[in-house]
Amino acid sequence: MAVKKDYKDQQLAEKLRDRKYYIPDSNPEFIKDVEKIGQTAAHMCYQCGTCTGSCPSAPRSSYRIRLFMRKAVLGLEEEILTDPDLWLCTTCYSCTDRCPRDLAPTDAIMAMRNLAARRDIVPRNFLQTVQLIYKSGHGVPNNDANRAARKKLGLDEEPETTHKYPEYLPGIRKIIDHYGLKDRADKILAEGE
């Protein structure tokens, strides 16, 4: 007669038989949000570690993409969104290229960053880029030394972008304002001062 496999600890066995069991500080909805924003079936990850093995950030930090993937499945939202390592992914997509489950761990990270940003957890440099683009249309704007160099090259001092045609800026600002992002960036950066 077949013996039913079970754990000796009856309480644990109960919990593990309950497929809806989550540890108290986990959020079962979290992985769904990650999958929707990242457009990748992150729960399919079988933790082989090809991602961490391919990651240029892993050898020089405590950032582990495999760990983030697992924590996302476990719904450890708080731990993930407050972890400074979340921002050490260079988005090189090596993990995504090599994933044997055909997942996109990079896009899962992007999704988790989006979810962190919804709670105003964003490193300053990301928000400063938003401010720069709002102001000039460029994340890396022109400057006087560069204008002089452009002139010497026979180019116009301002490139054929929003720099030369600032009449396009209101449209860009409208898009950013549609999401209230400029105000949020200003607010978060001011609070951090």
Binding site: L88, S94, N125, I133, G139, N143, K152, L155, T161
Partner: protein
């Protein structure tokens, strides 16, 4: 005559026009020599930076990139560009919106506020892939345009990440050991050299350069170690952001880690400009943080 030339809307991005304008000048001139006219994409903005902007809210990234694509749609012209970061934003958003109705409708709702609509009527190309494509230019035509071969120079290629990866969302074939840019380098008369971990990231992407500079530089430094091992005279790439990370990064590595490399870093269009006979002044090579002179001595 430029009457039969291929015409593209030229998306500039930020770092080429605003930090290395020689790349912009070279792209326009060198492309004309091989039958491509680059026309200004008036009013374009930052792509916007896929790491810095996309990390905060992908929806805004889609909408902002879509606005740039719509400018080209209004010209009725495909886009070409010279930066891998721009390629990720402009190419990928264009493809996503073409094939995902829900995303497209969401973006168009926002674009409606500025009287724009994404139609999905144009394609996006990296200039380097147009150079390689025999239907457009091809390696032979590149070789034929060379007036001053870069003979004797050993040049390593940094492909960067966002042009070819993730491979399943692109069309470049092998992403582990590609060789097509080496073919473009060999067409200039130079000797392409292979090095360990060629496809590793420069370290700058995903907002990491701004978030943790030492971390980003440590990745760059690993690549510089591998490049020195094979005795490369110069590194070439097709991404001004990678160029910035390698070029200015070497100065930062000197400051932070006390390591001196002195490896000249040139965008492929700058190399092509030199090979087609443009002078270092016409390419503003003096704006490079790392002196290009040792490399020029080798080839001029």
């Amino acid at each position: 005559m430029s009457g039969n030339n291929h015409q593209y809307a030229f998306f500039l991005g930020c770092i080429a026009p605003n930090r290395y304008p020689g790349i912009e000048a070279a792209a326009i001139r060198t492309s004309k020599n091989v039958g491509i006219d680059l026309l200004p994409l008036k009013g374009a903005s930052c792509c916007p930076a896929p790491g810095a902007f996309g990390s905060i809210d992908l929806n805004i990234w889609y909408a902002m990139a879509a606005r740039n694509v719509v400018l080209a749609e209004q010209m009725g012209m495909d886009i070409t560009l010279i930066c891998n970061g721009c390629y990720k934003s402009i190419y990928e958003v264009n493809e996503k919106l073409k094939h995902n109705d829900e995303l497209r409708d969401g973006v168009n709702e926002v674009l409606k506020e500025i009287d724009m609509e994404f139609k999905g009527s144009v394609d996006v190309w990296h200039l380097a892939e147009l150079y390689y494509d025999p239907e457009i230019v091809g390696v032979k035509k590149i070789a034929d345009s060379v007036k001053r071969p870069l003979t004797g120079a050993k040049i390593a290629v940094h492909y960067g990440c966002h042009l070819m990866k993730p491979g399943k969302e692109r069309h470049f074939g092998d992403t582990e050991n590609p060789m097509w840019i080496e073919e473009l380098v060999a067409a200039l008369g130079a000797e392409p050299v292979q090095y360990r971990n060629k496809m590793q990231c420069c370290g700058a992407g995903g907002g990491v350069r701004g978030y943790d500079l030492a971390h980003a530089l440590d990745i760059t430094n690993e690549k510089l170690i591998n490049l020195q091992e094979v005795g490369a005279d110069a590194l070439t790439e097709v991404c001004p952001f990678c160029q910035l990370q390698y070029d200015r990064g070497q100065v930062e590595i000197q400051d932070k880690f006390g390591i001196t490399w002195g490896l000249p870093v040139l965008h492929y269009n700058e190399l092509l400009g030199l090979a087609q006979g443009m002078s270092p002044d016409e390419l503003a090579l003096d704006l490079h943080a790392i002196d290009v002179e040792p490399f020029l001595k080798k080839i001029l």
